[in-house]
């Protein structure tokens, strides 16, 4: 899967007044920042077993310091070096305050969807303050573990394009429905795989 292939774009109807950012340079210093807790970037780590075809969902948090909404123009997965990412198939903005630790299926909680068949319910603007962006990923290969370190968000504010990274470690193991029901051991060493993802995400996020 190429980087472009993983990128999610808003549908045209949403983008009437928005210019999509092209792949390439976007300034990183803008009004949207990854959420920090205790002065450090927030980065929780979730792990989950999903049935093939089902999405594994994680949530990343951002904070907007400006009063006017910023408009999300694209979301892409941030890979964990050396690990397969899977395909980013869903993205949405948390709509009611309910969030996820980690989940499966889409949508896990009500979202203002950012992509595809789930047309936006109420626009794609991120208001001032904290917002949660939930993403769903799928993996094709049964018995294989996938991971992301977070998401890269491209957005526009007052006509200028920006990008920022929000951290949300997610590891998921793809199983068949029969394996899920039986609790069969698949993705051996999944916990060790997840622990390695956790360490790498902390390193990437610069958590001391």
């Amino acid at each position: 899967m190429t980087r472009t292939g993983r990128r999610i774009r808003l549908v045209a109807a949403v983008l009437a007044a928005v210019s999509l950012t092209a792949c390439g340079s976007t300034p990183s210093a803008g009004p949207l920042q990854t959420l920090s807790v205790g002065g450090q970037p927030y980065a929780a780590m979730g792990g989950i077993w999903v049935v093939v075809g089902q999405s594994a969902d994680a949530e990343a948090y951002v904070f907007s310091a400006v009063h006017d909404p910023v408009t999300v123009a694209g979301v892409s997965a941030v890979p964990v070096p050396g690990d397969p990412t899977g395909r980013l198939v869903h993205a949405g903005i948390e709509a009611t305050g309910a969030s996820i630790a980690v989940d499966r299926g889409w949508p896990p909680v009500p979202v203002r969807s950012l992509i595809g068949a789930d047309l936006p319910l109420a626009g794609t603007g991120l208001p001032q303050g904290q917002s949660g962006i939930i993403v769903g990923l799928s993996g094709l290969q049964v018995g294989r573990a996938y991971a992301i370190a977070g998401i890269r968000i491209e957005y526009r504010y007052h006509g200028q394009s920006y990008a920022t990274t929000a951290w949300a470690g997610l590891a998921f193991c793809v199983v068949t429905a029969a394996q899920y029901k039986s609790g069969a051991t698949v993705c051996p060493s999944f916990k060790a795989f997840s622990n390695n993802v956790n360490r790498q995400v902390e390193k990437m996020a610069g958590i001391h």
Binding site: G38, G39, Q40, I100, R104, G132, H208
Partner: protein, 357 residues
């Protein structure tokens, strides 16, 4: 260069001298307990109003204290005014790695300004004029207070957190205590009696490079405090800037180390204020056959975390790295929900996590 700033309150006399001491641990025994704590003056300032802002220049003493504390330095700030004095201990993180996971601490690191909390009431210290004279004669270098171990160390279960696990099949929470954490615990001070009359006098921070992998798993239905075995030691003070010296011999008791373990506490914390986490609109979902590691909790301050010689310690535990809570569910678990207290914070920001079906 760091600066300690604050208010000495209404001065008992027309002027005062503020002495900042850095505490060094010495003569550490086989159990790792310092047998001597030396409060070495690192800066002084003469003031005529209640406000002070004392720059502490870089020095070998400060570097040694910082090294011993893995970036945290425990300062003793003494104010001598006429025949009266007051003092208290103030821990300060001087490097980002030592900041105990909270914004205030990181701001200290960034700004290099340590705000000193309000002091205890002034007490009589008839030697104060002599101290002032000595301090003025030798700016920055006075005879500090040396604390020598009084009796053996004492190990006590100390509350460091709390665990709430849904009463649901297969759900558990592993409370971990690993890599680097910071226990900030009250210091008790007694004017003249080694076994009586201790009052709170500031706090001290223990920053440890801990043994790896400490943690305990709490099963479904747990609503319990998580405790750690903390080591306390009593000391007898001797020196110019000791509280009450030389008319009385002061004593203090303080935490000096940790066993870096986690075990089930004996008491029960408050129940989930929401009743169930679904009542909190900011809840997070934990589905079956999944896990969620929450990496960066804020510190929760607890009073009554331990008690010795009638003195009740308070404190908080901040985690700078690695997992504190690791919620797990099995394939047979129902979906459960995670939330924080009624403070408007989402689970990622909350100092306490609740988990209910």
């Amino acid at each position: 260069m760091v600066t300690l700033a604050g208010s000495a309150g209404t001065l008992p006399a027309a002027s005062a001298t503020v002495v900042v001491e850095a505490e060094l641990a010495e003569n550490i025994n086989a159990a790792g307990v310092p047998q001597t704590l030396e409060d070495v003056p690192v800066a002084t300032q003469a003031i005529t109003t209640g406000s002070f802002s004392v720059p502490v220049p870089a020095s070998a003493t400060l570097a040694q204290a910082e090294l011993q504390g893995h970036g945290n330095v425990n300062f003793n700030v003494v104010v001598v005014s006429g025949t009266r004095m007051t003092s208290q201990y103030v821990p300060a993180p001087l490097t980002p790695a030592a900041a105990p996971g909270n914004k205030a601490a990181l701001a200290v690191v960034a700004d290099k300004v340590i705000q000193v909390p309000a002091f205890p009431a002034y007490r009589e210290a008839s030697a104060a004029p002599a101290q002032q004279s000595a301090l003025n004669a030798t700016p920055g270098i006075a005879s500090g207070c040396t604390w020598k171990a009084w009796g053996s160390d004492y190990q006590d279960a100390t509350r460091i957190g709390e665990v709430h696990v849904a009463n649901a099949t297969g759900v558990s929470d592993t409370f971990e205590f690993s890599n680097q954490n910071d226990l900030t615990i009250t210091v008790g001070l007694s004017g003249s009696d080694p076994e009586y009359g201790f009052t709170a006098s500031g706090t001290i921070t223990l920053t440890n490079s801990l043994k790896a992998g400490g943690g305990t798993t709490f099963p479904a239905g747990t609503v319990q405090y998580a405790d750690d075995n903390t080591v306390y030691q009593e000391y007898q003070g001797d020196g110019d800037t000791c509280p009450g010296w030389p008319l009385t011999t002061p004593y203090k008791i303080q935490a000096v180390g940790s066993e870096d373990d986690v075990f089930h506490g004996t008491n029960t914390p408050g129940v989930n204020p929401w009743g169930g986490c679904l009542n909190d609109s900011l809840h997070a979902v934990l589905p079956p056959h999944s896990y969620w590691d929450f990496d960066q909790s804020k510190s929760q301050y607890y009073s009554g975390i331990a008690s010795w010689y009638g003195f009740t310690f308070g404190g908080s535990d901040g985690f700078t790295t690695d997992v504190q809570h690791d919620y797990n569910s099995t394939s047979s678990s129902p979906t459960t929900y995670i939330c924080g207290p009624k403070d408007g914070l989402t689970a990622p920001e909350s100092p306490i996590l609740y988990n209910t079906p």
